[in-house]
Each structure stands twice: as structure tokens, then as C-alpha cells.
Subunit: 340 residues, 2 copies
């Protein structure tokens, strides 16, 4: 049905009907505000805005995947503080020519991830707009000691979860339309691009066990996001190029020596964290519980040394495009403008 027939309130009713009642929700969709519980008397709150033509391209992104990703990128922020995501406020701008089926598909993507992450949709705002856009706000429960970007110390090890660069490489393939050239391998990269996995369990254990000293999720590229930790913590960082974890698909398509996507591609939604040397064993063990690989990729050095990536030869790799900045114009940004 066209949205102009269904109407705003018809749409809201349809959304409310398909939204499961979640724990902690005292009043959900359908009043002026939602009313929710916070066991710890405090909450973590994050927000991400995704805009058609800037963050995603509906030529190659399904509405289901877009819903999934809209939630995933927010979950990743809560995970990066070591919290547990609980509630989702979702505001949409919808072109008037959209069919309500498209919107239902978007919400199916949302609910698919929400259900497995223990998150409940509690409200939002629906509007017509000249393009599709989604603004999500996720509210989570903090661990006893939320992990910020500012606790890293000189000498700390630097780790990442999972593998880097897959999503950015997938985007490059989508944009260059060279999809068929690589056959099967592509599927793994596309999955990483369309349905990123927020590292919920790893984030929460790292905060709960107090093994990490600082943490961030990699959304704008390893080097850029590492820069945020370095700046907030007052340290520098030395990364070993050979230790950066790459997927087999990445190696097959880009080759293990092309680190551009892994260093500055962005949209990995992996956790990047620092931890004292003495926690190496704990982190080793943590991988099994969190069901994700964790790789030590470098160490924190004095602030004045800045950030460097050292090749196996011992020489530093030039870093001219550190990662994504939404306003600055660069080759790297131009590539990333359409990203979902």
C-alpha cells in the first residue's frame, strides 16, 4: 500500500503491531514519549544518522539490510563502551512514493537484529522526506566501569577483534561494479558490508573484567579511530602491518599487501582496544567466550611519536588518507560517500 493511503498513523500502528514488547519497557510506541527502566540508575546513549546517497545506495542495499545495519552501527557504539544495548528510538524520513512494504522490510531488518541483541524498539518519529533517512538512538545499560577512549597508557598493547577492511573492500567492488570478477569470495565481503556484526559480547566482557584500558569501535577506519584513542589518552601508537588481521576473502581479492581498506576503509565495526601487557593471558582466553578472534596489532608509545604503521621490512608505511571525515574532501572520502 502507498504510504499516502496508509497515512502516518496507519504506519505507526503497523510498526507498533509488529514490535515485540521488551523487558524494561513500561510504555513503548504510541504515546508522547517512551518510558523505560534502567537497573543501574544510569544509561549509555548513542545516535547515528544514515542518509540516502551519503551513507547508503538503494541500488545495491536492500531495505532489510539497511534496517539491520542502522541498528548494528548503534549497537557497536554501545559495545565500544562495554555496555548492553536495550532500547531503540528510530526516526525515519520516507519519500512519499515509497510503498509500505519497503518500510515493513526495513523494520524486519531492524527486528531481526533487535531480537538477537535483546533490544526493543520503543518509539520514534515518521515523516515524509525527499530521500530515505534513518536516525537511530540506542539506549543501553552500562557496565560498572564503562570503557572510554581515554584510559590507554604508554606501553599498553593494542588489539582489534575480527578482521579489518572487508566492508570497505566490498563497497569498492559495489562501486566499481566488478562483482563478477571474483566469484564466491565476494559473498563474505558483502555480508560484512551489509550486515556488520557489532561485537556485543566482547565489548561487555572487556569492560566487566576490566582488562582493557581504552576502547572504540572502528567505524571511520583503523588509523582514524586509533587517532581518537591516542588523542583522548595522550599516547602515540605503533602498529605492525603484518599483524593486521585480514580475512581470507580480503587476501584473495585485494591481496595481503594492499592494506588501504584495512587501515582506512572504515565501517568495520570491530572493537579496537588497549590493554596492559599483564592482561595478555586474559585476553587470549576471552576470545573463546566472546566467540571472536582478537589480534594484538601493536602498542602504545609516547604521544610525540604519533601513529605509525611499520612494515615487515621495518619501514613505516605512508599514511596520507587516515580515514573518513564527513566534511573534508579527500580521495578516501569520495570513495566512502556511498557506503551502505
Amino acid at each position: 500500500m502507498r504510504l499516502s493511503q496508509l497515512g502516518e498513523f496507519g504506519l505507526i500502528e503497523a510498526i507498533a503491531r509488529t514490535t515485540p514488547k521488551g523487558s524494561g519497557v513500561r510504555i513503548g510506541i504510541g504515546d508522547d514519549a517512551a518510558w523505560v527502566s534502567h537497573p543501574r540508575q544510569s544509561s549509555l546513549i548513542t545516535s547515528d544518522l544514515l542518509i540516502e546517497g551519503i551513507h547508503f545506495d538503494l541500488r545495491w542495499t536492500t531495505m532489510f539490510d539497511l534496517g539491520y545495519k542502522t541498528l548494528a552501527v548503534n549497537l557497536s557504539d554501545i559495545a565500544a563502551m562495554g555496555g548492553i544495548s536495550a532500547y531503540l528510538m528510530l526516526s525515519l524520513g520516507i519519500p512519499s512514493h515509497f510503498d509500505s512494504k519497503k518500510i515493513a522490510e526495513f523494520y524486519r531488518g531492524i527486528h531481526s537484529l533487535a531480537a538477537r541483541s535483546g533490544v526493543t524498539l520503543i518509539g520514534g518519529d515518521t515523516n515524509i522526506a525527499p530521500l530515505f533517512l534513518a536516525c537511530a538512538c540506542v539506549i543501553g545499560h552500562p557496565s560498572k566501569h564503562p570503557l572510554t577512549r581515554s584510559g590507554a597508557k604508554t606501553g599498553d598493547d593494542i588489539y582489534v577483534t575480527g578482521t579489518l577492511g572487508d566492508a570497505a573492500l566490498a563497497l569498492q567492488i559495489l562501486q566499481s561494479k566488478s562483482k563478477r570478477a571474483h566469484g564466491k569470495t565476494i559473498g563474505q565481503l558483502m555480508q560484512r558490508h551489509h550486515r556488520p556484526t557489532a561485537r556485543l559480547t566482547a565489548g561487555s566482557i572487556l569492560a566487566e573484567k576490566r582488562v582493557a584500558s581504552a576502547m572504540i569501535d572502528i567505524s571511520d577506519g583503523l588509523i582514524q579511530d586509533l587517532g581518537h584513542i591516542c588523542k583522548a589518552s595522550g599516547v602515540g601508537a605503533e602498529i605492525s602491518a603484518d599483524d593486521i588481521p585480514l580475512s581470507s576473502a580480503y587476501r584473495a581479492v585485494a591481496g595481503k599487501d594492499d592494506l588501504r581498506y584495512a587501515l582506512s576503509g572504515g565501517e568495520d565495526y570491530e572493537l579496537l582496544f588497549c590493554a596492559p601487557h599483564s592482561h595478555r593471558d586474559d585476553i587470549e582466553k576471552l576470545q573463546r567466550r566472546a566467540k571472536v578472534s582478537i589480534t594484538r596489532i601493536g602498542r602504545c608509545v609516547a604521544s610525540r611519536a604519533g601513529i605509525s604503521v611499520i612494515a615487515a621490512s621495518g619501514k613505516p608505511i605512508a599514511l596520507d588518507a587516515p580515514g573518513h571525515d564527513h566534511f573534508k574532501k579527500s580521495a578516501n572520502n569520495a570513495r566512502r560517500r556511498r557506503s551502505a
Copy 2:
């Protein structure tokens, strides 16, 4: 400075620098998520999305007023539940050609209202976009007994705060460019359109004293929003046309008999609530404490009677365009498409 020079992180730093540290904020702008306190172990959460060309027109709306209004419309939702607003998450889409001064002006509007409402900006997301858009999420502290739309009973009185129709009438004037025709009076209407007053104190007292049975804020027009209370409460409503409070400016410009703007114009951000007959004295007294006039405009009737507005003659007034629906096409909607 152009945003393309300042960059995303330069902008975020500038926003953080000009944001006062608020009470209850453990971690504000600058990490993956904000961390805030909730004295009652629960919170009220609302979100509103404002899009250029749909909700506002920058030909007649200043960035300061737009910032002010972006916050005001969210505060109004929290007030309508009887809560106290505390935190603001704000995500923006910004055209790349915007100068950073424009954005600073928008934040000045935000902070101007935030300061006097006890609200702190705690984070958000900044992106480039083909048009300007602002998505706000306000988190508030609930009263002991949040006021929903669903508690009205047959026989309850119906009240509104302030006066109705001013903002919609102002918009009509802006759109028809007949501004000069009415001289001084216009200023009062424009003020109501550009800087709506969320009824924070009235909302909070009404919930705290438990005098109201149901409440909503009027954003889409009296009849439409009354419809939400009626539907949620299972009642009908009879409104006395003569009792609808109109400002002197409204009377001077539209005339007291033209109730279109007051009935279905929208963007009043006044509170509409129901209360048992026995609370009339309490509500009378409450006006002074809340510093806003409160007018009894009708009563709740049986659900099957629906909503009617009765003229002084005793005859019902025809209601063909009840109020704003973001997706349905109607004369009323067409008029309201550009609204700030």
C-alpha cells in the same frame, strides 16, 4: 569557516567546547556513547526529526530559531508525559556548502533554550547531507506517575494551556507573504511559530499532583491530537467552539470566527488534557504556579459520539481536515508542509 575546511572532528570539538557540563552527565560529547544518570531508575525518551523543505523553510527561519524549535518540540513531548527533560542527543545532516557560523548559530538556539530548561547536550552524529536536517532525542526524568493518553473517562473535563492556532496562522502569513498587511500584531504570532513554548511546569505539576487523567501536546492540531486521547482512552469529546482560547493577535488577524488554525493548524505545543470534574479548583489554582492560562474547552463523552465541536448556536461545526498527517495528501497538509 567552511565545513569542508573545519572537518567533522573540528566541528565536534567546537560543539563540545560550547556545551556546558550538565548535572547527571557522567560522560558527554566525545566518546562512543554518552553516560548519564537517572535518579528514578527509569527515563522518558522522545525523538523528533525536522527536515528542510518539509518542516521548515530557511527563507524565513533563522538557524537560531531552528535550533530553539528543534529542542522545544521535544521538550513539549516530555512535558506531555509530565516529565522533566534532562538530556539531548542531536544528530545533524548539513549541506557541505554551509558555513560553520550557521551551525554555531543553530547551536546557540539550542543552548539558549537548553540552559533555561535544565537540559544538557550529551552527543549526537554529524554528517553531510543534501539538505539540512536535525534529529533530536530528548531523555527526561519521569514523574512518579507519567501521564499517558489513555486515562480519560467519560464525563471528564477537557482543557488546553495557552492559546491555539497562533503558530499555524503565522505560517499561513509567511507562506502567503502578506506579512506587512497586519503590522505589529504579526510579531506575536511569529514568536509563537518560531519559538514555541513547551509547557514544562504545567506538565510536570499536572502529573505530580495527579489532577489530569490523560494528556498530550498539540503538535498536529487540536482535533487530531484530541483524537489520539479519545482513541487511547476509549472516549469521545464535545468541544465548545466559543471556549477555544484565541490570542488577541489571532482575533485581530483571522477573526474570532475563523477557527481553522486553532482546530487543525498544529504546532501549538500547548498541553491538551482531561481531568475529572472534582479537580476544577485544583486546576484553577495551578495556572498561577505554572504561569500559563488553562482553559476548559469541553468534556469527554461516550466513544460512539466521536469528536464534535459545537458552535454557540448549538450546531456542530464541520471538521473535514482534522489536522496534520505526514503522509496523507490534503489541503491542510499541503499548507503545513513547510512549517518552521
